[in-house]
Structure formats: structure tokens, C-alpha cells
């Protein structure tokens, strides 16, 4: 991949009804990494994601993706929503969910082509859901549901995949299956941004970490950020550092 920078954030400030939720954030994220976004509840993790993607309007600041504006590269960015915000009873199958990835506003009158169908098939195979392709999405396990959304991101051809709490309510073995898939994608040069709340698994899951506490407290490698000196002011004494270190 040509670009070195996936997201460049300058002075991003977020808030609701005049209250500042996220103080001016400046950060440059590189490509080809799995980056974790951590911080206590209400520290502005999801707000950061929604702000850079324009889902919630920002108070001030400027964000570019791959050195271009959001609108210019929308198709290269995929957002996987929080599980609880998805209507799992909705009557669509894995296949139909993944197919959304090929939709394009400029070609809305066209049926998806044979090439598109092949892309959809391959993506579903890559995330290991071929046997479940015609299942209604509510009849999948939590881990399979996340993988179905990742397949949609793949079909879309996304180079940047942003996931909001993908590991919540998912058992360890499924978490690892998703992680293996994400690592494979990273090795292909894709950038993956993950909002995460479980400190115990941070060291195993991410290449780099952003730590939020209503502002960006730290951004760096695991060794730089997951240390008592950095975490204690944010989390207080509730963190069991021995448990975290054990993973490092």
C-alpha cells in the first residue's frame, strides 16, 4: 500500500449540548496495524470513532483518511457497529448482509454482477461462514455475527476497518478466531481500529493502543502505554497490573 498514514486527526473536539466530551485530539495513525482504543466507561472512545466518521458532528477539528477527505475515501472505510445497536431479528441472511458491501449510490439501478457475487462468496469463505451463508443473522453466534460484518467490510474493499466493542459477550475461542482473521488482514496491509474495554487482553490483541480519558492520554506501543505509570492516573487502583503484565 502506498500511504503510510491511515488517519490524521488535528484538533478534534467533540461534545453534546455544549459539554465537551473529548478535548482536542491530535494524532496520526499509521497503516497496517491493529490499533486498540481503550479507556474507562464514558471516556469518549465511541465518541472519537463517531466523530472521525461524521456519524456525530464534531465541535471543531479536521480529520483526513489516507491524506484525503472522508467523502473521497468512504468506500475504503468500513464501520462495524456495536452488537447491541444491531437488530438481529431483522429478516436478512449472511449473504444479504455481506452483499450490502457492493452497493454503490452511483449504480443503484444495477443488479450485482457475477464478479460481485464471486467477491461476496470469497469474503464469506474467508471469514469461515460458508456453511452459514443463507442463515438469518440472528441465528448465528456472537462471534459469527462479528465475522459476518467483517465479511461485509472485505467485500466493500475497505482498507480501514473500525470496530466498536467487537469482543463484548463473545467467548474466548471465538475472540481468538476473530483476532486471527484480523491479523491476517493486517498482514495484507489493512488497518484495523478497535474500541475495546477489557484491559486484560489488550497486550495480546493490539499492535498499538490509544488511551482515552476525555482526551487522548497516550498513543503508542503496548510497552509504552500498558504500564502502571500511564494507566494508574486513568483507571486508579482498580487495575490488577500483575494480570496484564502476565500477557506481555
Amino acid at each position: 500500500m502506498k500511504e503510510q498514514t491511515s488517519i490524521d486527526v488535528k484538533g478534534l473536539q467533540m461534545g453534546y449540548h455544549g459539554n465537551i466530551v473529548l478535548k482536542s485530539v491530535d494524532v496520526v495513525l499509521e497503516t497496517g496495524k491493529i490499533i486498540g482504543i481503550i479507556g474507562p466507561n464514558g471516556s469518549g472512545k465511541s465518541t472519537f470513532i463517531k466523530g472521525i466518521l461524521g456519524i456525530v458532528s464534531k465541535m471543531s477539528g479536521n480529520v483526513t483518511f489516507f491524506n484525503q477527505s472522508l467523502n473521497a475515501v468512504r468506500n475504503r472505510i468500513a464501520y462495524v457497529p456495536q452488537r447491541e445497536s444491531v437488530d438481529w431479528d431483522f429478516p436478512i441472511s449472511v449473504n444479504e448482509l455481506v452483499e450490502m458491501g457492493v452497493y454503490q449510490p452511483t449504480k443503484w439501478w444495477k443488479k450485482s454482477s457475477a464478479a460481485d457475487q464471486e467477491k461476496i462468496k470469497q469474503a464469506i469463505e474467508k471469514v469461515g461462514l460458508t456453511a452459514f451463508a443463507s442463515r438469518q443473522i440472528g441465528q448465528l453466534s456472537g462471534g459469527q455475527q462479528q465475522r459476518a460484518f467483517v465479511a461485509r467490510a472485505l467485500v466493500q474493499g475497505a482498507d480501514l476497518i473500525i470496530m466498536d466493542e467487537p469482543f463484548v459477550g463473545i467467548d474466548m475461542s471465538s475472540q481468538e478466531a476473530i483476532l486471527l482473521l484480523l491479523q491476517e488482514l493486517r498482514n495484507e496491509g489493512k488497518t484495523i481500529l478497535i474500541v475495546h474495554h477489557d484491559l486484560a487482553t489488550v497486550a495480546n490483541y493490539f499492535d498499538k493502543v490509544m488511551l482515552f480519558n476525555n482526551e487522548l492520554v497516550a498513543y503508542g506501543s503496548i510497552n509504552e502505554v500498558i504500564t502502571p505509570a500511564v494507566l494508574a492516573p486513568v483507571y486508579g487502583t482498580i487495575v490488577d497490573f500483575s494480570q496484564i503484565k502476565q500477557h506481555v
Binding site: N71, P91, P105
Partner: protein, 282 residues
């Protein structure tokens, strides 16, 4: 039976109304806006009455214009209130719906003061009177059905995807405004034509009940669409048929009775299927 032109019109009319109501209802159901049909059918009343009061004739296209204007005002007001207040969708719909309906009822009683009009069948808008359907109405229904089916044929996937994952579609660059404008137009047209048969009060049932029953029978989106249309058309025609068996039987309520029977059947089927599954897995 089909030698009677009135009956032919009634069956053709109810078939078309059942069809467009089920198609439109399918999408409002997916959007979780089941109440919007109710809101629109009530909100149409003042527009219809104003159109009649100004033109003095009961011509379908004039009444449709009135219906369209007030239906459109109501849907705009609903989405505006949802955006600007913190009120939930059902609250906003209840407020807007009752306001417009009250306006309509005031207009209706005002028309009654004028003895020349004798209301010219306008009170039928409240409870519906399919026997009054004219050949012109049928042509309008055919035109609207063709329009709606054409829009749906072109945009089915996008309507469904917007209902499922709005942010994703906006992120892809699809226009939410265009999406809701098309859907609202379809709802208003379907309801404006449908209330002639079912009346303001029962119209929303014909929108929502077919797809709700079908949902109990299938998980598959395409099948859901087809089954909902089947249920809608069958109930509309069969209900209308029953209402012709005796003098002075109302059409709308009979259509709803047939719908209710189908819903009970669907619920029973689902219950039996889930029981069987439990036995298998247990």
C-alpha cells in the same frame, strides 16, 4: 357474479388496494414505523376535506392532491419534531396524528352545516365504502400500483438496507433524504387510495397486518415480501366478497376480520413449529 360491473370494480379495487398496502406496509414494518400508516391515514383527512371544500367536487385526483399535501405536511412535521425535540417517535406520531385528525373532524362538521353538499360521501372516508369506487378510481389505483412496484423493483435492496443499517448506507454515500421522500410518497399514495375502501380508522391494519403475519412464517426477506403481498391481496378481495353476501355489510371491517383469521393461523403455525423444534433439540 362477475357480470355485475359494480362487483368487478369492488374486487379489482380491493385487490389493488391490498397489493399496494402490503408493499408499502412491508417497508414501514422493516423501518419499525408501523404507526406511520395510522398517522398518515388520519392526517390525510383535513387535506381531503379542504380539497373538497375548495373544488366542490368529489373527484379522485383533486382529493388525492389534498391528501398528498396534508399527508406530506404530517410526515415532515413528524420527522422535524423527532429531530428537534427529544421526544420518542411514537409520542411524536400520536401528537401529530391527533392534531391533524381533529382538524379534519372540525372540517367535516363544518361541511355538514352546508345542506347542499350532504357530505357527498365524505363521511365514507372515516369508515370506507368500497361500493362507491368508480372506474376512474380503479385507473388511479392501477397507475399508483405500477408506480410503486416500479420504485420498489429498482430500490428494494436499498430500502431494506436503510431500514437495517442507516449509518452504513449514509456512510456509503446514499441519500437518506431521497430514501425517505420516496417511501413517504409511497405511503401517502397507498393510504390516500386505501381509505376509500377501509376508511381512516382501519387503513393502517391493511398496511401492517399482512407483513406482520408473514413475518411469523418466514425469516427470508424475499419470501416475506411475497407472502405479505399474498396475504394482503387475498384478505382484501375475500373480505370484500364476504361483505357483498348480505345487504349493507361493511367492507373494511370484513377485510380486517379475514386478516385477523390469517394472523391467528400464522401465530398458531409458528407456535407449533417452535414446539417441534424444542422437542427435536430437547
Amino acid at each position: 357474479m362477475f357480470s355485475d360491473p359494480t362487483l368487478v370494480r369492488v374486487f379489482l379495487g380491493t385487490f389493488l388496494i391490498g397489493l399496494i398496502a402490503a408493499v408499502v406496509g412491508f417497508f414501514t414494518f422493516l423501518q419499525k414505523k408501523a404507526l406511520i400508516g395510522d398517522a398518515v391515514s388520519h392526517a390525510i383527512l383535513p387535506g381531503v376535506i379542504l380539497a373538497y371544500a375548495f373544488s366542490g367536487v368529489r373527484e379522485t385526483w383533486i382529493l388525492l392532491i389534498g391528501a398528498f399535501v396534508s399527508g406530506w405536511l404530517a410526515t415532515q412535521q413528524i420527522s422535524w419534531l423527532e429531530r428537534t425535540t427529544k421526544l420518542k417517535s411514537d409520542t411524536v406520531i400520536a401528537v401529530v396524528m391527533s392534531t391533524f385528525f381533529a382538524l379534519g373532524l372540525c372540517g367535516l362538521s363544518w361541511l355538514q352545516l352546508n345542506p347542499d353538499d350532504g357530505q357527498a360521501g365524505l363521511s365514507d372516508f372515516l369508515f370506507g365504502k368500497i361500493a362507491a369506487i368508480s372506474m376512474v378510481d380503479i385507473y388511479f389505483l392501477m397507475g399508483i400500483a405500477i408506480f410503486i412496484l416500479l420504485v420498489v423493483a429498482l430500490r428494494f435492496r436499498y430500502f431494506v438496507s436503510f431500514a437495517f443499517n442507516r449509518e452504513f448506507m449514509i456512510g456509503k454515500g446514499f441519500s437518506e433524504k431521497r430514501n425517505s421522500f420516496l417511501l413517504n410518497t409511497m405511503i401517502i399514495l397507498a393510504v390516500a387510495m386505501g381509505i376509500q375502501a377501509l376508511g381512516v380508522v382501519l387503513m393502517s391494519a391493511l398496511l401492517i397486518v399482512p407483513v406482520a403475519s408473514a413475518r411469523m412464517l418466514t425469516n427470508k426477506i424475499n419470501l416475506l415480501f411475497v407472502v405479505a403481498i399474498g396475504i394482503g391481496c387475498f384478505s382484501a378481495v375475500f373480505g370484500a366478497y364476504i361483505s357483498t353476501l348480505k345487504e349493507n355489510m361493511p367492507t373494511g371491517p370484513w377485510i380486517i376480520m379475514v386478516l385477523t383469521m390469517i394472523t391467528s393461523f400464522a401465530a398458531l403455525t409458528r407456535w407449533i413449529v417452535s414446539k417441534n423444534k424444542q422437542v427435536k433439540h430437547g
